[in-house]
């Protein structure tokens, strides 16, 4: 898949950014690891990976990331968060409340399924993206407790919204990058 030459940035402060890069390689989409704010000027879309949201927030607090990413989004450039990335993008965070970008109108509860022993692989439905059940890996995952009026639910697993979209922002509580299924990344690339 070619992307009009637009590179995708992958936020690489901490977490599973290399797995997103592997997925973009499979889709032949050019990418760049984003480690400093000025890197945002060189990309057409941004992936916020899984990892520890509290760790990434430490960097946000010190290097002006919040304002820069909001400016990036205001230019209509697409963003895609998985797990910790979704927590960063949300408008409200519970368990406990913490800083966030507020770029998608959802409330997320951190570690809402429990600890690592409660992590699981589930199969969910994303009818607008694919007609096959999607393998979804949840690692100490958050749960979306509230979906704002302007937010579309694209995917559900066991009744809960797990893939949501508002304008140019896409957010998953699971890790498509941990599977071999390219559906969600392919969908994101179409937005770029």
């Amino acid at each position: 898949m070619k992307n009009g030459g637009k590179r995708i940035g992958i936020l690489a402060l901490q977490g599973d950014f290399a797995l997103h890069a592997r997925m973009l390689d499979r889709l032949e989409a050019p990418w760049k690891l984003v480690k400093h704010v000025p890197d945002l000027d060189e990309i057409g879309g941004l992936i916020l990976p899984g990892g520890e949201s509290t760790t990434m927030l430490k960097f946000f607090g010190e290097e002006g990331w919040g304002e820069a990413i909001r400016r990036f989004a205001a230019q209509g450039k697409p963003l895609f968060g998985t797990c910790a990335g979704t927590i960063l993008l949300a408008s409200e965070v519970l368990n406990p409340p913490q800083e966030r970008l507020g770029l998608i109108d959802i409330t997320v509860e951190r570690n809402a399924y429990g600890r690592q022993v409660d992590s699981s692989v589930r199969y969910g439905d994303c009818p607008e993206l694919t007609d096959h059940p999607l393998e979804m890996v949840f690692i100490r995952a958050p749960i979306i407790r509230r979906v704002g009026a302007g937010v579309r639910v694209l995917g559900r697993a066991e009744g809960l919204p797990v893939l949501v979209e508002q304008g140019s922002v896409l957010a998953a509580t699971f890790h498509p990058e941990l599977t071999e299924d390219e559906t969600v990344h392919r969908y994101f690339l179409r937005k770029v």
Binding site: G15, G50, E52, T55, R115, Q116, R140
Partner: protein, 295 residues
């Protein structure tokens, strides 16, 4: 046989989420909060840091359940805890209280001098130490979902971690150039399962994440092991045995993320106060070494 089944996917999955981060040893809820506040991606709950275990001697066991639970309640990041080599009952206890990762660790006094824990039946993932590829692949064969270098814990000396990291990555590179019929003899030499030896020869890396531990005390130490191929770092005594733990912890987190940018490592190395004192490992008696535990 090694299998990347659903269970292993979840175990390795959490290790993937810790990549590019720093896992810090803590002994109290207060230390755990300092670590989280500094940007640790996980903490290791234990009763004594390795430097104190080394100094005080005696039998080093799994930390008390109360300490581990208090630390779990104090932070939102993953909490790991150590079990003695071969002590599967300690591991069962750690799983029962819900720790996120178990370190079957040579830092504690071994409970079995022949066998490690069979890690496959557990739902909780395990990390194990290794000094070379053979040791790493034996642990993976037993079900470990993450490997870390052993280094020499509590020494504040990076030399052993470097030795182990270079051994593992060097031996992996050698495997990739062998012909298929040479792999059985190599598996015999390594004392490792043939299936996993073949996997590594084909893929040029371990089938699980490869982190570094044992002697990391400065931001430059973290940068060094990351540049040598570690995917994340464990810092044990290096933080809370230094003069300004919060500042040093934050600096090591930054240096791990920006390990390939010397000017960032330089910036966060400034004005850190004193590092832990450290030990010349070559002056240690063979029986004082922790890294030789494990089989």
């Amino acid at each position: 046989m090694w299998e990347y089944d659903e269970k292993m996917k979840l175990k390795i999955g959490l290790a993937e989420m810790l990549k590019g981060g720093v896992i810090m040893d803590v002994t109290t809820p207060e230390q755990a909060r300092i670590a989280e506040e500094a940007g640790a991606c996980a903490v290791m709950a234990l009763e004594r840091v390795p430097a104190d275990i080394r100094k005080e001697g005696g039998v080093a066991r799994m930390a008390s359940v109360k300490i581990i639970k208090d630390i779990m309640a104090a932070v939102t990041i993953p909490v790991m805890a150590k079990a003695r080599i071969g002590h599967f009952a300690e591991a069962q206890v750690l799983e029962a209280i819900g720790v996120d990762y178990i370190d079957e660790s040579e830092v504690l006094t071994p409970a079995d001098e022949e066998h490690h824990i069979n890690k496959w039946p557990f739902k909780v993932p395990f990390v194990c130490g290794a000094r070379n590829l053979g040791e790493a692949l034996r642990r993976i064969g037993e079900g470990a979902a993450m490997i870390r270098t052993k280094g020499e814990a509590g020494s504040g000396n990076i030399v052993e971690a470097v030795r182990h990291l270079r051994a593992i990555t060097g031996e992996i590179r050698q495997l990739t150039v062998l012909r298929e019929e040479e792999l059985m003899a190599k598996a015999k030499e390594l004392g490792a399962p043939l299936e996993i030896v073949k996997w590594v020869a084909t893929n040029g890396k371990l089938p699980v994440p490869n982190f570094s531990a044992g002697g990391i005390a400065t931001p430059a130490d973290a940068s060094l092991v990351m540049q040598l191929g570690a995917e994340a770092v464990f810092v044990g005594s290096g933080i809370f045995k230094s003069s300004d733990p919060a500042k040093r912890a934050r600096a090591i987190v930054h240096a791990t993320t920006h390990y390939h940018e010397p000017h960032v490592v330089a910036e966060c190395s400034e004005d850190l106060g004193e590092a832990m004192r450290g030990i010349d490992v070559s002056k240690l008696d063979q029986k004082e070494l922790l890294q030789t535990r494990g089989w």
